[in-house]
């Protein structure tokens, strides 16, 4: 290191970088300014989410019904638990990070190494949890029917319990066929067909007297409005145009596609931050092991990357509130 730096004789003086405005080193202050600008980016995302939610206040999905899975508890309605677990994992990795910074202040290399290692493990577990959450969200559970106006109709039984499309659809000999690029323009291929056609779902719905349609509209009591059998049949036959299974950027079986879009963008952007945080942590971790900071006599790099890591935790606290709680 030393060999590459030209000695100018101004070390420690103002022109040699010795002046520390606001008593913060250059690196630390720049990290804070980066965090501030990044915080504003996330605020933009979350405020836009709020905008869309206010706009579609009556047809927004209920988060507890969307995110109600827990590993190894298949079919059990477990809202909140999984995301609460993810929150704890991230808070705990924040704690180990701050313990690493604390050990760094005391120049205890072994302790810094150990706590950095725990922090990295926590970050990796969080990323894995998020992947699991995404895969549940993308594959969906029950499937739904979409209308001309782009709204979602879900199917429930007499007790109001959701019924999956595969339980009711009556399969018929179908001429449906996925569009491939060898039968038309070479640069266009189809999106993939849903498991059932809308006709099959309609036939199945008509055949079972117990089934009702649940609209996306929130009623007075905060629950989605369920139509009577008569209304359900009319709605399904007149307005239903297609089948939706799971969620992607254009279709969403839980409600307005915007809900899925914001879910992917906000948790995805946050997940990307966690990912880059883990990479940065690994780099710093390796530097700690080879003793770079030991020789430098200062563990400030651990502190700087720690700031970033806590920021990621801070953002998650807000995402948790506005996506899952409110």
């Amino acid at each position: 290191m030393e060999a590459t730096v030209a000695r100018t004789g101004t070390e420690g003086k103002t022109w040699g970088g010795g002046n520390e405005p606001l008593k913060a080193s250059y690196g630390k202050m720049m990290m804070w300014f980066f965090i501030l600008s990044d915080a504003l980016t996330f605020s933009g995302f979350l405020a836009a989410y709020g905008f869309s939610r206010f706009k579609f206040a009556d047809i927004w999905p209920i988060a507890d019904e969307v995110f109600n899975h827990f590993p190894f508890l298949h079919g059990v309605d477990a809202p909140m638990y999984y995301v609460a677990l993810m929150t704890f994992i991230l808070i705990f990795s924040s704690v180990t990070m701050v313990l690493a910074v604390d050990a760094g202040h005391q120049l205890k290399k072994a302790k810094v190494t150990f706590y950095m290692f725990l922090t990295i493990i926590g970050g990796v577990i969080f990323l894995g949890s998020q992947a699991w959450e995404w895969s549940n969200f993308i594959s969906g559970e029950y499937g739904a029917v979409t209308t001309t106006g782009g709204n979602i109709l879900q199917i429930v039984d007499a007790e109001g319990e959701r019924v999956a499309l595969e339980e009711i659809a009556i399969e018929e000999a179908s001429v449906r066929r996925e569009h491939e690029d060898n039968v038309g323009l070479w640069f266009e291929s189809g999106e993939g067909l849903p498991s059932y056609s809308i006709e099959e779902v309609k036939a199945g719905f008509a055949a079972n007297e117990n089934l009702l349609i649940r609209t996306g509209v929130l009623g007075e009591n905060g629950e989605k409005v369920i139509l009577s059998r008569q209304e359900s049949l009319a709605k399904l036959n007149n307005e239903a145009t297609g089948v939706v299974e799971g969620a992607n950027l254009e279709h969403n079986e839980y409600g307005p596609p915007l809900f899925a879009d914001f879910f992917f963008f906000i948790t995805g952007f946050h997940g990307f931050h966690v990912f880059s945080g883990v990479i940065l942590n690994i780099i710093i971790f390796l530097n700690v092991i080879v003793g770079t900071y030991e020789r430098r006599g200062s563990y400030e790099m651990v502190e700087k990357v720690g700031l970033y890591w806590h920021f990621v935790d801070l953002v998650w606290v807000f995402v948790f509130t506005f996506f899952y709680l409110v």
């Binding site: 605020s43 405020a47 706009k55 924040s94 990070m97 910074v101 801070l314 409110v326």
Partner: protein, 121 residues
């Protein structure tokens, strides 16, 4: 040089760190319990267009954010003006953004609801 000065001045903060961890955990647990139970009197009573339950969630979130920023990110140990540069800038812009966007969202909601825009067909 730096070695002796830092080694002597920094006592371990681990007690404070663990107590903040406990506070954050308790607040998160309270949030989750409230989110699962959804007590009726909190859901039904509104304050400025939002249910009391949601206000509680937001206040608890800001409480957690305060502890993360002040304790974990060491803002309490930074110079007063560095803290202000960061916190005031963010607060001002975020509050402004939220006000503008939520207001506009609510306006569009009313147009959908009371105006002549068909959305359910």
């Amino acid at each position: 040089m730096a070695q002796d000065s830092t080694a002597h001045h920094h006592d371990s903060n681990s007690k404070r760190i663990w107590s903040v961890f406990i506070i954050l955990s308790i607040v998160t647990i309270v949030e989750v319990i409230l989110g699962i139970l959804k007590p009726e009197f909190l859901v039904d009573n509104n304050l400025v267009n939002m249910s009391l339950l949601n206000w509680i969630f937001i206040v608890l979130t800001l409480y957690k954010a305060y502890y993360i920023a002040w304790s974990f990110m060491h803002l309490e140990q930074e110079a007063k003006w560095l803290r202000r540069v960061i916190v005031w800038t963010a607060l001002f812009l975020v509050i402004y953004l939220i006000f503008i966007l939520l207001n506009e969202g609510f306006y569009i909601y009313q147009v959908y609801k009371e105006g002549y825009v068909a959305w359910d067909f």
